[in-house]
Each structure stands twice: as C-alpha cells, then as structure tokens.
C-alpha cells in the first residue's frame, strides 16, 4: 500500500461530483503524476493549461464503471488495458468497467492523441489514482451509512463489506452518497505485488464485434443522405493542378458533382498535422463508391510542376553526398574520435540505408463530414483530433464550438493518422456540397499521397584497441526531412571517444512519423554494425555488448544524466534473452542465429532470431524476445503487440520499399509494394517480460526496431554476407 496525495498546492488531481440520475463522477488528471516528490515538483512547474482534469470515471448506481477515454484505439488495445488498471485499484470486477471513447472536447480533455506508445505510460497514475480515490470514497460513504469506521470496511469485486456487523452493499448503492463527500486528501494505492487484475491475461473487449464483422471503423460509417466523395490528387510530389475536365464526368451514372477544390485556402492556419497537405485537388461526389471510382478513372486532368520532381536516384545521391561532405557541428562529441582511430588496432566502417516506406494501414484513409452553416460534424479515424479542430476552424471559417469531432476505431495507425488532411478534405467537400459525405481514399490514393517514413543513410565507424576493446565510435546519419540520429542513446556513455553527427535533406516528398520513428531504421543498422564490430574484436556479440553496458554502469563517459537509457535494464533484457534462447548452445542444427537489443519509447527489448535461407528468402524459425516495459498490464495483448512489431520489423526490412521517379511513387498498391505475408512470418515467437514492478512504459513500438538487426546478423551467419541495404530481399531498388 502506498499513500498518495490527491492534490498539490492549489492543484487538485481529483474532482468529484454527482452523476445526474444517480452515481458519482470523478474527474482526474490524465497526464499528471502525484506519486513521488520529483513528479510533484514537475507538476507544480507545469503550465496551467497542461494541468487539467482531463479524464473521467463514472460509477453508476447500477455499479457499472465507465472510463471516458480521451485516447483513440488504433489496435494497441488500450480499450482493454485501461479498464484493467481502474478495476484493480477500485477493486471491482474488470468486466464491470468499460471504456467509452470520448468525443474531442478541448475544454475537458487536453492533448488527445494516440502516438509514441504513450497511452498507458501517461495514463497509468491518473487511472490508478482515480480508481483508488473512488474506492476510498465508497468505503467512507458505507462507513457513514452503517455508523462504523471506514478502516473496518473491506472491498472485493465491486462490493463493500463490514465483517463485524455482517453488512454489505454494492458500489452502485453507495455511489450517490460517495459523490457528496469531500475528496480525501490522501488515498491508498496498491503495492504492485497486490495487483489482482493487472498482470492477468484478458481478451480484447471488442473481440466479438471484430470477429462478427460489426461496423466499427470509419469506412463503415453510414448516414441518411450520405454521399461518397473521392479525390484526384496530383500524381507526383512537386506537381499541382493545372486544369481538369470535370464537366465530362458529371454526367456519369450516379455522379452528383465534380469540381476542383482548394482545401487549404491561402492564409489558412496549418497545424503540424497538416504537414503533408496538398492545397488543391479535384473532388468527385456520387451516390456509390464504385461509381465514384469509375468517374475518378475517367477524369482528364492536367498537372504542372510546382517544385522539384524528385527520384529515388536523386535521394540516394544527395544523402550519400551529405554523409561524405556535410560539416554540421556534432550533436555529441566525447573525447576525440580522430585521435582514437589513429591509434586503434582495428577500424571498422560500414554504411546502411533504407528506402521510404508507406504506412499502408489496412483501412485506407477516410472520414465522414457534415458541414452546414450552423455546425460541422466529423466522424472517423484520426490520431490527432485536437489539431484537426484547429485546422477546421481556420479553413471552414467556423468557431471551434461549432465543430464536433468523433473518433471511430481505426484499422491501423502506425503514425499515418496523425496527419489528418483527409478529414479536412472531407469537411471542405461537404461544405461545398451542403451534404453529408464520406470521403474514401482508394489504396492508390492512400499509398501515393502519404506522409512516408523517410529514406535514410547512416555511416558508422568504430575503433578497437589490441585487446578488442571499443575505444571509438563515430556515427553520421542523414535522412530526407529528418536528421535521424539519437545522439544520447547507446553506445553514447559507454565509449571514451564518441561523436554523433546528424543531417536532414529537405525534400518535396512528404514524410512523417511511422511506427517507432527513426528507431525503425537506426536500431537495425546500429545493431548490425555492433555485430560486425564484435566479430572484429573476436568476441561473443552478447558479451561484447554486456561489457559496454558494464562500462556505462560503473564509470560512464560524460554526464550519465544525458544518456537517455538505463544500462542495467538494457543489460537485463540481453541476459534474459541469452538465457531463454539457450544462447551458449547455439541455434538448432542447420539454422543460423543473430542477436540485437534496443531501447526506445522508454522500454528495452532484446531478441535472438533463428533462421535458414531458402529459395533466396529468409525463413525465420523462431524469435526469442525479452522485454522490459515495466509492469505489464495485460500479458495476452502485450505479447500480441510484441509479436506484431516483430513481424512488422522483419517484413519491412526484408521486402518493402517505396521508390520515386520524377516525383511519382512507383508502387501504388500491394501488387508492387510488398508487405510480409503469412508464410513469411516467423514460425514461432516466444516473449518474456522482465518482472520488476517499475511503472509501465511503451509497448506498441519497441519490439519492431531491434528485430531488423537480429535478422541482419542471422542472415550474415547463414550467408556470409552482411546486409547493408533495406529491403534485404525486396525487388531491386530502382536506381536512375
């Protein structure tokens, strides 16, 4: 049991009120922490607007508990995990707790966003405190009703009991009385060892709806009088609309209208979420999707150059040049790498690269909008509703109070739905049509109007002394629109001479966050290089890494506070995967084995991967995965996230690439853009979590990045070749 305060200074973490019709509502702060002194000081230092009551817990007089969740569900399963946290502290049956997707309401919820694997990490303390506070207030209400001491009242599965008098009552019976009480200044939160729901396997609360095909997604939205809208956007980055023969498609069956539309009028206020916006395009509106698709195909439009029409060959050349010649100041510089290389017994140098990637959520971008002069109603899959509201207020010239945004379940996010330009397009088309419309992107629209994972190149150089100790590490990274390198991540702090340089190449191809941004490439490159360096040092790859972590633990280079990783936890996952994979015994006969470890989203992952190479493709037999993400809320779905990240990481590193010719994406559907398929997935994945009682950290992303390194290292053992260029087994990337 831990006593925590419910307020600090004039700021209260919890507010209570009565629920109309009976029951109680507790408002709590989704993002704030009240558990330790440092966190409280940080809370006090927060700007007021960051410190708001932004989550709600309702206990009805029937005992049902509802969490109003500000965070959308994109497949990361927070809709199951969040109620588990509340149910545990509240001490009610977790099946009696449900999550309701809250509409966008910037007056109540702040920073509504799904991204960065942060939902559980940030919601953890708020959800626990709300559950614990409600439990305490219910006990107090029962104590008053029964004339006994609150301390004598126990709880279990949503019931209050007083053993001496034999009295008991359900939470619902006491909820209204509890709502009238003052919020206690201090409440008891459980010790992690006493959790009874957190840490147990619980199935997806929407599972039944999913497997029976119920309408859950944005694309499933249907309203009376709703029209279908499609867009025709410029075929290349760096082009804009010149003219379009909309008249000839207007007469096609089922087509109501076709028109060029300026989605972002001059002077419109853009948010970062509008980064990939195309200002003008052609809209086609009709009665059915198929009819709109036919008109879209038939539309004759002319486009003209408006910027550089870039090709993959240009990106490759420019990034190479940047690595060779760029002279920016280092982001971090410990010791002197040049002097160390000069005296090193061995120097290893390698360059790694990766192409652009499309997000390819299985549900293409879409949004419902109904804009009238009085109000704007929007409904669909979006990761950043708050930013969308700001943009809409600007482009529709409408006050925010008149804009309602509702979120649907999303058929995948992976970062793509952070950039909600499709919702803005839907709103502008609806406004023009004065009708409710559902904008639907075809797969080709989705893949060719993306906000892609940037294209990257990174060069590593390492120096070893005569005993095989790492004495110097130099990393230079470059990416399109993205400077790639995390200068304070491993092995920073573990090498005397360390230098990190990073460069961004501005391009006209729009880029953005893609599952585990930057880490999704850098981890694989770094861990493949580490393998190469360990081999040059004549050392076991795990021993070699552990020696570096020992160094970072016992006498770190530079200010250890600057390093954004904990070397003990890092070493911990490596040791765990070494044990579980029986590393010393090696892979099963005929198979080859690689290892990698990485830290991102505040979590640590190490993997050992066993494969054979058959018919010029890797066949991954097994992946052993050790994860330290602190307390695991729901192991069943946590393992699903880990497995998914591993499949995703292997798939993209092996097969996927988006290339450009004269600004045009050369792959626009799954016939040319390869995604990993069932037969190519690992035959088996074993996941092990470190049990350390530390507060939970991210899990939606961290298993993806390192597996690319484990794969490359296993491929090297199988083939004798180092794999420097992603995709390792994709169609040959088009150069020139």
């Amino acid at each position: 049991m831990t006593l925590v305060k419910t307020s600090i200074g004039r700021r209260s973490f919890i507010k209570s009120s009565a629920l109309a019709g009976g029951g109680m509502v507790l408002g709590f702060s989704w993002l704030a922490s009240c558990k330790d002194q440092a966190a409280m000081e940080a809370a006090l230092a927060m700007p007021d607007e960051w410190f708001e009551i932004n989550g709600f817990l309702k206990i009805g007089d029937n005992g049902l508990v509802t969490i109003m969740s500000p965070n959308p569900e994109i497949g990361q399963n927070v809709k199951t995990a969040m109620p588990m946290i509340v149910a545990d502290e509240l001490d009610t049956a977790w099946k009696d707790v449900i999550v309701e997707q809250a509409p966008l309401n910037t007056d109540i919820f702040t920073r509504q966003l799904a991204g960065g694997s942060q939902s559980i990490r940030q919601g953890w303390e708020g959800l626990r405190l709300a559950g614990a506070t409600a439990r305490q207030m219910l006990r107090e209400a029962a104590a008053q009703a029964w004339g006994v001491a609150a301390a004598e009242i126990t709880t279990s599965a949503g019931m209050l009991h007083h053993e001496a008098s034999g009295k008991s009552a359900g939470y619902g019976e006491m909820a209204s009385a509890a709502a009238a009480l003052e919020v206690p200044e201090e409440v008891e939160m459980k010790d992690p060892k006493d959790f009874s729901i957190i840490g147990t396997d619980q199935k997806n609360v929407d599972g039944k709806k999913i497997v029976t095909g119920q309408p859950l997604f944005g694309l499933d939205v249907n309203r009376d009088g709703m029209l279908i809208a499609m867009i025709v956007h410029p075929p290349a980055f760096g082009m804009k609309l010149k003219s379009a023969d909309t008249e000839s498609v207007k007469s096609m069956p089922g087509i109501r209208d076709a028109f060029p539309i300026v989605v972002y009028p001059e002077g419109a206020e853009r948010q970062w979420s509008d980064g990939g916006a195309i200002p003008e395009m052609v809209a086609i509106v009709g009665e059915s999707t198929w009819q709109c698709m036919q008109a879209k195909k038939a539309l004759q439009a002319e486009w003209e150059a408006d910027g550089d029409l870039e090709s993959t060959a240009y990106h490759e050349e420019a990034l190479n040049k940047m690595l060779d010649t760029a002279q920016d100041a280092p982001a971090r510089n410990d010791g002197n790498v040049e002097q160390a290389f000069a005296r090193a017994a061995k120097v290893v140098e390698s360059t790694y690269s990766a192409p652009y990637l499309a997000h390819n959520t299985m549900e293409p971008m879409n949004f419902f909008a109904h804009v009238t002069p009085e109000k704007a109603e929007l409904l669909g899959p979006i990761q950043t509703p708050e930013f969308l509201e700001n943009t809409l207020a600007s482009v529709l010239q409408m006050p925010k109070e008149k804009i309602d945004i509702m979120m649907t379940r999303m058929g995948g996010g992976f970062g793509r739905r952070l950039y909600g330009t499709f919702a803005v397009e839907a709103a502008m088309i609806s406004q023009k049509m004065q009708a409710p419309v559902k904008l639907v992107y075809t797969r080709e629209d989705d893949m060719s109007q993306g906000t892609y994972r940037p294209s990257y190149k990174i060069r590593y150089k390492a120096g070893l002394d005569a005993d095989g100790n790492l004495i110097a590490w130099h990393v230079r990274g470059a990416g399109t629109n993205d400077d790639l390198v995390f200068e304070n991540r491993f092995p920073a702090g573990a090498v005397d001479n360390y230098r990190a340089e990073k460069h961004a190449l501005p391009t006209d191809v729009t880029t953005g966050a893609w599952r585990a941004p930057r880490s999704n490439f850098i981890a694989g490159a770094e861990q493949a290089f580490m393998d190469e360096v360990a081999e040059a040092a004549g050392k076991d790859p795990i021993e070699f890494r552990l020696a570096l972590f020992d160094r970072a633990i016992s006498y770190p280079v530079g200010d250890p506070e600057k390093n954004d990783y904990d070397p003990e936890r890092y070493a911990g996952v490596l040791k765990l995967v070494r044990e579980k994979s029986n590393w010393e015994a090696g892979p099963p006969s005929g198979q080859s084995r690689g290892v990698a470890a990485y830290f991102c989203h505040n979590s640590y992952v190490a993997q050992v991967l066993d494969l054979t190479v058959e018919a010029n493709a890797p066949k991954v037999h097994k992946v052993y995965c050790a994860v330290d993400c602190g307390i695991v809320i729901n192991p069943l779905s946590a393992k699903n996230q880990v497995e998914g990240g591993i499949v995703d990481g292997i798939g993209h590193a092996t097969y996927s690439a988006l290339t450009f010719r004269d600004g045009r994406p050369e792959q626009t559907n799954f016939d040319k853009y390869r995604l990993i398929r069932n037969s190519e997935a690992p035959k088996s994945i074993e996941t092990y979590f470190v049990d350390n009682g530390i507060d939970p950290t991210g899990l939606g992303e961290p298993s993806l990045p390192p597996v690319q390194g484990a794969l490359a290292n296993a491929l090297y053992r199988a083939t004798g070749n180092r794999y420097y260029e992603q995709p390792f087994f994709g169609e040959r990337r088009i150069i020139g």
């Binding site: 198929w290 549900e363 075809t442 016939d671």
Partner: protein, 154 residues
Amino acid sequence: MAVYNLKINGTRMEVDVDPSTPLLWVLRDHLKLVGTKYGCGIAQCGACTVHLGDTAMRSCSLPVSSVGNQEVTTIEGLSENGDHPVQKAWLEVDVPQCGYCQAGQIMSAAALLKSNPSPSDADIESAMNGNICRCGTYVRIKKAIKMAAEEQAS
C-alpha cells in the same frame, strides 16, 4: 443498370446496379453489409474475402454480374451467433489488434477448413497468403486455425 437477385447469407436480396459493380461494393454500399472490408481493390490483400458457395473469393474483383445464383456468405452470415469454430478460436487466441483485416482472414480460414479439415502448416500458409495483416498477427492466425481444426474434429 440491371437488377440482380442475390442469395446472401441465406436471404434473397435485390439490387439495381451497374453490372460491373464488384460484389464488395454491392455488399457495402447497397446492402449495408460492411463487415466485408475494402483494402486494395485488386485482389491482393484479402480484406474483402467472402464465400461463393464453399470457395473463398475476393469480392473486390468479382463483378456482381458473375455471381449468378451462387450462394454468397459474408462474415455477418458465417454463423448465427458468432460461434463458428474459427470465430471462437479467434477469440480464444485473442488474434485481432486493429481488427480491420480479420473478417477476411476468418473467411479464408473457414473456407480452408471446409475443404481441408486438418491442414498442415504449409496448407495454412498457402491458403492464408492472400490475406495481409498489417498489424502482424500471422502467428496467432495460424494458431487459431489449428485450434478451430481440432475443435471441428472433436
């Protein structure tokens, strides 16, 4: 436009559409059966999988004019109460993440088990290779299909 009298999930349904309209959009737009999903439109991702008779078909590339009198089964009609062995196994294994592709996965798996009640790993991979899952739930899909096969056998 032409009138088609289709047999869908055991019920006769009439639509008046252009003969080239893919069954997918007839289901989704005209009959409001939205469990069958759009993913690619070119029979590459399997999100739109339905049964035509006992065979798994990509409805995005099947013109309504070629359906004829064949029985169409969609995810909504796979079982009355969501208790087809494949659906039960999907829940037991907790397969879905985002869930969008899963109707198509389930329809492919159900068709596989109808023609091959005890598929090998290779049979499963071959039958399921046309269904992309971007969340990467393939390992669980395979496990769930084996579980469903076992339940059907017992």
